[in-house]
Symmetry: C2
Subunit: 340 residues, 2 copies
């Protein structure tokens, strides 16, 4: 095997009998270049298997055509088990980037690391997409910092009230409302809610508010004893449900703040000898692939991850271009299965 010395624009210029500037223009399809010259140059480039050196291009033009995705989860959660919902988002973001001609740098960060701005400061990325169920209280000062640095970023999640941050998120309130409305229509009256309902988990909180609003609208009073905190894991859902059962709470429906929690809840209920949906109806949120395969298949609110990824990328690109991004809410879709 012979060593393949990489061709530069000077090599092409030499062979084409033009200057290197002209080569550079021709390869970028500049209208300034004579068509015949351009074609000739492009042919030689192809022949030499020439590829623009991205480091040189980026250094010179001061932009990287690369976006960075920072996925963070609470440091307490298990490293190896990333929430499937985010993996689905990762897939759609990757695709959206590719469609826009951008590369994607991926990083899983703990909340406590000094990740902010690293990628953009080093010119490795033009902007950042933040993804994760974050602890909002700890998270906020990071956002403020990023914002102050003038870093370009968009985030997925619940809207940040007192801050001007580009956010794309699901309409969690409405999704929560819809699921609970569905449970009520099925004749359930005492509905437990498993999931942290505070600013520490703003998305769950919004789902809870929607849930509570639906109850009120139906004339059912909200029983605070039926809400138990839990973060986004199967284990947390299992433990919280156990706690609820141990406390002897009475309920005929259970709203899990996300599908993973629902999977844990189903396990706890089943172990306790309760039949789903006959004794207790269960609903989740997200519609992760697993949702249709648990027993019984889970009723849930589907989040449109394809659209979400697309909007995140498009808005970040807008922001980088100096335009004002829109804060957008995506509607979830009720998926009825046999758990309710």
């Amino acid at each position: 095997m012979y060593i393949n010395v990489k061709a530069t624009s000077f090599d092409i210029a030499y062979r084409a009998g033009v200057s290197q500037s002209t080569v550079s223009r021709a390869l970028r399809n500049s209208p300034l270049v004579n068509e015949e010259t351009r074609l000739k140059i492009q042919a030689i480039a192809k022949e030499l298997n020439y590829k623009v050196d991205k480091n040189a291009r980026n250094l010179r033009s001061q932009q990287s055509n690369t976006l960075a995705l920072l996925l963070f989860e609470d440091p307490t959660s298990d490293d190896s088990q990333i929430n499937p919902f985010f993996l689905s988002m990762l897939g759609s973001i990757t695709r959206a980037c590719a469609n826009k001609g951008y590369d994607l740098l991926v990083s899983f960060q703990q909340m406590d690391n000094d990740w902010h701005a690293e990628f953009e400061d080093t010119n490795k990325a033009d902007g950042i997409i933040l993804l994760g169920y974050g602890d909002y209280v700890a998270y906020k000062e990071k956002l403020v910092h990023l914002h102050e640095q003038g870093t370009h970023f968009v985030r997925w999640g619940a809207e940040v009230k007192d801050m001007d941050v580009a956010t794309i998120g699901c309409d969690n309130f409405h999704g929560g409302y819809q699921l609970t409305e569905h449970l009520i229509q099925k004749g359930h009256k005492q509905c437990a809610f498993i999931g942290t309902a505070s600013r520490r988990a703003p998305e769950f909180y919004d789902r809870y508010k929607g849930h509570a609003a639906a109850l009120k609208h139906a004339g059912i009073s909200v029983d605070e004893n039926l809400q138990i905190d839990a973060l986004y894991t199967e284990e947390a859902g299992y433990l919280a449900s156990k706690e609820l059962l141990a406390a002897g709470a009475k309920f005929d429906a259970l709203f899990a703040a996300c599908d993973l929690i629902a999977v844990g809840a189903i396990r706890a209920l089943t172990e306790h000898g309760l039949a789903i949906p006959d004794d207790v109806a269960v609903v989740g949120f997200d519609d992760i692939p697993m949702a249709s395969f648990v027993n019984p298949p889970l009723t849930t609110a589907k989040q449109d991850t394809m659209l979400a990824g697309q909007l995140l990328v498009e808005n970040l690109l807008k922001l980088i271009a100096g335009d004002k991004p829109s804060t957008l809410l995506i509607e979830s879709q009720l998926i009825e299965r046999s758990s309710s």
Copy 2:
């Protein structure tokens, strides 16, 4: 908000009263620099929130400290549903890269694209990790091409016989052997195999060979009518199982070449009124998160994705450093659940 003009090494040099070369050395912890000077420079750098421009560094040093991950699936498969097994690999590879101080560029490619060498040719990445259940026949010429170009890459998957390519993979033969041995111990004699058993899907093929070897070892003859091709999706598993049932095949156990296929097979068997494991025992391969939540929970061969990611990254780094990588086989682990 004031505009934060990015500091360069010259700004630091000016403030520290030294040359830019010394700044560069100090920030890289070169032993050539006087400690006092180094500390002073580093303090100033921190104060100015200085970050090395990666494009400049990479251009100059001709390496990127970035690896690229190319995940490809057959063009026929659904875009939105990436096999959970690969997502798990993605997580572990990301972590392994971070541990080594490398960034990770992620790209999902279709097999028919001209992806080969793109990242390395443009100096965006120092090497490439290839991931995917690929159609081996179509795939091979790409590998040959990559190899000829002198691109640094490692791949996950079955060993390529007649080519010197760095490969990390699961011991699929042994995993297949173990699962079938397990089924035989449980008293099953007529075992179907759902999954493509040919060079088009070399990993499945190895699992099949292990399966067949276990049968032979137990004195059971291999019935070719009990093997149906299927690629790595739930749908393919469902359809292949339907086909098997429609043909009136007799079997008391079913070996699915991967968990997703198993999930589809369970659906088909259940619809057909068969009880699992009483009428038919089912086993899968991979141990994706879903495996423990299907009904009934799935017996499978767990692949150690954490170790796999680590080995892929380590071997690629070796290769880049000019060392010979090792072709390694990782043992799978039998996970017994109630589907068998």
